[in-house]
Amino acid sequence: MARVQLKHVYKRYTADVATVKDFNLDIADREFLVLVGPSGCGKSTTLRMIAGLEEITEGELLIGDRLVNDVHPKDRDIAMVFQNYALYPHMSIYENMAFGLKLRKVSKAEIDKRVRDAAKILDIEHLLDRKPKALSGGQRQRVALGRAIVREPQVFLMDEPLSNLDAKLRVQMRAEIAKLHQRLQTTVIYVTHDQTEAMTMGDRIVVMKDGLIQQVGTPQEIYNHPNNVFVASFIGSPSMNFLRGNLVEEGGALFFRAEGANVRLPEGRYAALREAGVVGKEVILGIRPENVHDEPMVLDTFPDSTVQADVEVVELLGAESYVYLNLAGQSLVARVAARSEIKPLTKVSLALDINKIHVFHADTEQAIF
């Protein structure tokens, strides 16, 4: 059982460029933590530093209260699942799973028991005698998981384990890994570039960009209260809309004003906006596609937050439609019910749910709320 702590961790490959900068994180025992971000954001490097495959340039790494900066990977009591599985091609599935235990001089009977138990959990018992090349992608990924499970490590490290699988299998394995975590009750650190995986699997999510942590929080926190424009746009699909405009005060009320939009902001936010000193200045208004409505009833509820926009494309997905709009040069996406009557190349009125809007500083892109 282990807690993992990273204190002011840096990774530099060259003297002046840091791939990971001042990484601070306290990962609780049994937590499922997801590191997410675009490629090159440093998430994999961070995981590899925890694994011991990359040296830590600066800072401290503790696994279960033990400083492990200079400890060999094999002595960190971790197991890792790789993106391309990394099964030993010259060994059978059984040998692949048993290899780590054999090196640790675990008794034959114990190895056999653990391998067969893991194989049973992962439903790969019938494959134990085969070689990796005789297996499908999904089966290989199960074996890779099995190889990690049998080791009974303190921490599981997973580096984009699902990204080589096809879409359907990925959804299935996602649920299986989540189930596995509930069953094994072990700390998991999971790297992905897929925000859906992050949202659905993580107890907590760490969003990274350019080697810096952008935000740490539960999926709900990250989704509902993003720290900045990057996090807001990265998490959620389709991603959040951003409109640039000015914050103006008129008769004691605050309005977000851009061409085609004059949105009265909720009174409860006035204090925050005034404190941020953005009244009379340019701001970025963020709103998620599901909070842009076309139903007449909602339009009546928010008469002060309607916008007029030109419909460019309507994508019917079955249960719902994505409507791509042009709001005087700024793009806007609305996620509406499939029965909506919106037609392409028309002008429509849409209501923004002002209780769900976000406002960001125009220059720093940091969230005000």
């Binding site: 011991g52 990394a86 099964l87 030993y88 090196l103």
Partner: protein
């Protein structure tokens, strides 16, 4: 696809292939045939692929040479070629692995210096090499000859194996590290087994070059008892005549170990052993 090729085309293709096969095999068959002919039959103007008088005499002569010379040559050749192979494979595997996986100062220099020695024809290298080996007091010794063979075998083997190691996914080694192996263990238990086809090819190359080599052996081994087989064969060539019958028998005997070696090594020459360990 095969159905689209017409019957005449197929006949034509096979005819051409058979022609080339015959061209390729004929010299060896002729050699084999000559080795079983008595000297008198070799110098007739008629061509007989099957000897009119079949005889083992030529072979018997070789093994009955004075001082068991021929047997000594066989032993010299076997010893030198095998040791060259073992050393070349071991040294090039470790060198190539270092070049493939680690970054260190002078890495490029090492790689290019290997290429550099390959750029000169043996005739140019032989003089400085002779001086070197003479000064080291290694003339007529196995060590000297093996050292000389290393200079040709190693560069090729290192480059060959480096590209082979490059093709082994590094994640396999990382997985092994996490599983509990140190660097040497990873090399020995994960990388080498996966590189067997590459090792077989380099081993085969090293063996063949050493086994067939003539120029170095001729220059460095001046005592008759220290000859290797190719140099030994030359003793059947005299100023005014050549003992073709003995020479061809000797040549057949030289070929056999290469064929055997190939038969053993060829099952490792099949690539694709790494398939399945990772995606793709």
């Amino acid at each position: 696809m095969i159905n689209r090729i017409s019957w005449t085309e197929r006949v034509l293709v096979h005819a051409v292939l058979i022609l080339f096969a015959v061209i390729a095999v004929f010299p060896f068959l002729w050699l084999l045939s000559t080795s079983f002919k008595p000297a008198a039959e070799i110098f007739t103007s008629e061509i007989h692929l099957v000897p009119e008088t079949f005889t083992w005499e030529n072979y018997q002569y070789l093994f009955a040479m004075k001082d068991n010379l021929f047997l000594k040559w066989i032993w010299n050749s076997v010893f030198v070629a095998l040791l060259t192979t073992v050393l070349a494979v071991f040294l090039s595997a470790t060198t190539a692995y270092a070049l493939s996986r680690f970054n260190f100062p002078g890495k490029r220099g090492v790689m290019y210096s290997f290429l550099l020695t390959q750029m000169f024809p043996a005739a140019i290298l032989i003089v400085p090499l002779y001086n070197l080996i003479k000064n080291l007091g290694l003339l007529n010794s196995y060590t000297g000859l093996i050292l000389a063979y290393m200079t040709t075998a190693l560069p090729f083997c290192v480059w060959m194996l480096k590209s082979y190691f490059d093709s082994i996914p590094v994640e396999l080694e990382e997985a092994a590290k996490v599983d509990g192996l140190n660097t040497w263990g990873t090399f020995y238990r994960i990388v080498l087994p996966l590189a067997l086809p590459g090792l077989a090819v380099t081993g085969f190359f090293a063996f063949i070059t050493a086994w067939n080599e003539f120029l170095f052996a001729l220059t460095f081994m001046s005592e008759q008892s220290a000859y290797t087989l190719p140099v030994g064969l030359r003793t059947f060539v005299f100023q005014f005549r050549t003992d073709w019958h003995y020479m061809s028998a000797g040549a057949v005997l030289i070929t056999i170990p290469v064929l055997l070696f190939f038969a053993v090594a060829q099952r490792w020459l099949v690539s694709g052993l790494t398939a399945g360990g990772s995606k793709g």
